[in-house]
Symmetry: C2
Subunit: 430 residues, 2 copies
């Protein structure tokens, strides 16, 4: 949200502008640093100050605050830049959506900006223009935890336009990391006949922090979009905590597995498709190649689906009556026997119920123990080795594309976008 | 469940008994093998046959089935055995609860039995009697996905009795793997002043399979219970896929991370407490030592708590009105901004809401982004680096022990049984 009137007035009164060196006294504390632009993710009564050690802190503006300008900023606001065009280079589309990666740092002033245009984002890593031309636009500007099905659909259509109308070699989608793997799964089902890679990329630490992964990830994503023959939706993120390489994860096999580490994203139940190191792309996994011709967008979704986590003590009414229900069961795909009646009732009333595992790794197999067999008998569909979140997204897509319930089951059991494998590869565990 | 009358009658008619070599013809197929005892986890119309390759298969008994006895069993049923007693050895209590590990194989007949007594289980690994005396009993006999709070309480009381009345050096609890970590967390909060280790142990593959982990895990668990100075609840399971060592996991830090691998159990957000290799215990982590005196059981729980998994598209009514609610949010602990109103409403009505992360690894931090700050403002409690399942169990315990809501918050923020650490140790990721 923007700054409050209250804060704006205080800053105006002391003539403090962004880029100025200021001193703040509040609650007996003294803070000295550069006044930073307001951050879209900050509260209205917070001002951001960059300390001499490079870190930004947020200071709550209270009535007793005192602000003095010690030194006016040295440079005027950056002028509108023009993106260079080189007819010998491939062109990559960058479609902004928000998130940590969209907060870029201006190298000259040291200020952190929310990238209000994707151009800004590209200019924050100027090496990009050595690789390709950039067509940039912003689809929306949001924290990824706020995204919904309609945003996935908007994005799918924008990506399709970029390939079909602007004839780009690939599309890069900077994205918040929280729900990036839900979006990558949705795009994987929605986009067909991809004529180039669709690369989602994020950052775990924003660019104003010394440990930011934003620049390396963005550069790797653009490299992949410009130079590879991939025809899939992938996620590109740090491969290790250090800045050695970035990993290429299939869009239907990836999951954020750590709240804060830079290498939080992991491919689950298969190996990553490859990596990017020192500007070189290594594709080691089996991947779908790009197809010449028009990209087809097929983004119909039935949103009447829920994702539910089983736990000991769960009550029947926590299994909601929806057209589709994905359960995260225990182990091989189990829930308590006293919930089976409710599941049967839902299915008898027309719901489609899919079983996945809260273990995250491995494959569901409901044939081994009696509770599982009861669920199969009731008509529950096995999620095989699909990630629960991917099964959720796929079920929305399947319900919108199937003729009847048998057809939903058929789609759920069919590998559409690399989300299911015939057998589990056990070399990809923790 | 037991065999159906229908199956019993067919077997009686052809005089087929457990242990006999039989031939089955059904639906044009011919199957030859040893008729096995009925498995508690099997359907009533299934008979189990051990093939010559060592694997068991279940065959559905249909009307058109033909069964011939080719050879009668060679040996009579095993006689009741007496557990030897050696006054120079420590005594370990084995308290059975069911699960895969409780299906043991009789070495002489090769038959798989559900261990109807914990003695049977101990006798299935005779090396146990080289280490200690065994006091065995069965608390209940269930698939772990069917367990509820009352079973945790029963178990806590049985364990307390074993320590206080029978003066054992440690207690081993063979347990189904599906919800073993929920039980280990519950026991960790319920048991105080432990005078010895409480070791939960399971098997990912039952003893009739060549790849079973049952014997090694059970032997390691008994070793730890007999010989160590631990005063904590721990889980002991395979450390690798091969039979090299077993890992000792703290009861509040462990999670089943794979549906089928033998090394499925992993310590999350810290290092395992240690390992057991070639009968030797190595405790490398910081652990609580046993305390002389009486064990105290403190097993009051408030069951009006739910565990809910956030996902894009979640609706307000999927956040149920309970006394306690643990949310598995995205990333650092987020949910969509349009659910914040509902959370605020729940808290204003007296609910306690705790935030954890579906990333599984890492620590929740709601101060970084605006949605998180909105949740903090609404009164959501940070789950720190607690596992979501552990936060769920702990919240039931906290609600039953706190004076008021502030006191619940205080308990949730206090490290009771190793479930929270002051800072995250980042060396324990995938």
């Amino acid at each position: 949200m923007p700054r409050s009137k209250f804060v704006e007035n205080i800053l105006k009164r002391v003539n403090a502008e962004e880029g100025d060196l200021i001193e703040i006294k509040v609650d007996g504390e003294k803070i000295k640093g550069i006044l930073m632009p307001h951050h879209e993710f900050s509260d209205e009564n917070i001002i951001i100050v960059k300390l001499s050690n490079g870190y930004n802190i947020g200071v709550e503006v209270k009535k007793n605050i005192k602000i003095n300008v010690l030194e006016k900023k040295k440079e005027k606001t950056v002028k509108k830049r023009k993106i260079p065009f080189d007819p010998d280079k491939p062109t990559v589309s960058i479609i902004g959506t928000g998130g940590t990666i969209a907060c870029y740092v201006d190298y000259r002033t040291g200020a952190v900006h929310p990238a209000t245009s994707a151009e800004d984002l590209a200019f924050s890593v100027p090496e990009i223009f050595d690789i390709c031309n950039v067509k940039a636009k912003v689809a929306f500007q949001m924290l990824s935890e706020n995204l919904k099905v309609q945003h996935w659909q908007t994005l799918a259509r924008e990506i399709t336009k970029a390939f079909n109308n602007e004839r780009v070699s690939g599309v890069v989608v900077p994205h918040g990391t929280d729900t990036m793997s839900y979006t990558s799964a949705a795009l994987s089902f929605m986009l067909k006949n991809l004529s180039g890679p669709v690369v989602l990329v994020g950052a775990q630490r924003s660019s104003d922090r010394p440990s930011s992964d934003a620049a390396q990830n963005l550069l790797a994503a653009v490299t992949l979009a410009a130079k590879s023959d991939l025809g899939e939706v992938v996620v590109v993120m740090h491969g290790e905590t250090s800045d050695t390489f970035t990993c290429i994860h299939r869009g239907t096999r990836v999951r954020k597995m750590h709240t804060s580490r830079r290498d939080a994203f992991k491919t689950i139940n298969e190996k990553p498709l490859g990596k990017i190191e020192d500007g070189k792309i290594e594709l080691t996994g089996e991947y779908r190649k790009r197809i010449a011709g028009k990209v087809i967008v097929d983004d119909k979704m039935d949103e009447d689906v829920a994702l539910v986590y089983f736990y000991p003590g769960m009550k029947e009414d926590e299994l909601p009556d929806k057209k589709g229900l994905v359960i995260m069961g225990t182990g091989l795909g189990h829930i308590s026997i006293d919930l089976v009646k409710r599941v049967k009732e839902l299915i008898d009333n027309g719901s489609v119920v899919v079983m996945t595992s809260q273990c995250i790794f491995g494959r569901v197999n409901m044939r081994v123990y009696s509770n599982g067999r009861e669920l199969l008998k009731a008509g529950v569909i096995s999620g095989e080795d699909m990630l629960p979140e991917v099964a959720y997204v796929k079920l929305m897509w399947a319900l919108a594309h199937a003729k009847d319930r048998d057809d939903v089951a058929r789609i759920m059991h069919t590998d559409i976008a690399g989300e299911i494998s015939g057998r589990s590869i056990s070399t990809t565990f923790l």
